[in-house]
Symmetry: C2
Subunit: 125 residues, 2 copies
């Protein structure tokens, strides 16, 4: 595959679906939760408040399949399972952290904009 | 609202839903399409190959409500309607462009990882 052919503006390009994976809220939060090192399922689950078991399992499996997260089973009793970012997964941290920071920084402005919009929309109705 | 209270890891924080908006594939592509200046609906629609009229309308309206896109109607015959990034919307360009670049750069590696994963999953079944 040549890099030149990749264009998410083209509906058939696989990068468009990859954007769904990496921009997904759960991916942003899970990759962030793994930013300080390997974590167990329960630890991620507690950090990402409100994620369902199903969604966490599904997102971790997708990230593992994409080569962004590595799942390691330690042969202990009971077996210990840890999730960690792969080197490629680590390259995602910076852009996703930028998204998270943007959301924190601009939430207030966005809420003000929504209120103004809704007042105008209400008065026009 | 104090900035300190904002935390997308908390399920009730509005930043979590804001992450959905900004990480959405259509937002990434539409904000990118407006990167060079104002565009008409039809121009955006052609640039973002495969977006439905409904999805484009809905995403533009959401971005307008959030204060990220401005819709301007010019009193011509026929009326001309243009969409442009607001100054706040422009601050989104850099993080979203980073996501787009990441997807282009790592698509090949992700596809290789998927193939390996699927071979292993197949042999384990």
């Amino acid at each position: 595959m040549t890099q030149f052919a990749l264009d998410p503006y083209n509906r058939n390009c696989p990068t468009r679906r990859l954007l769904d994976r990496i921009g997904d809220r759960w991916t942003v939060l899970i990759v962030g939760a793994l930013g300080d090192g390997p974590r167990r399922f329960g630890e991620i689950s507690r950090r990402v408040d409100g994620v369902s078991q199903k969604m966490l399992t599904q997102t971790l499996r997708g990230l593992e399949r994409d080569g962004l997260v590595r799942r390691t089973v330690y042969a202990e009793m009971p077996p210990r399972v840890e999730y960690a970012l792969t080197p490629v997964g680590e390259t995602l941290q910076e852009p996703l952290r930028a998204l998270e920071d943007w959301a924190r920084e601009h939430m207030g402005g966005v809420q003000d904009a929504r209120e103004s919009y809704d007042v105008l929309a209400g008065s026009a109705a």
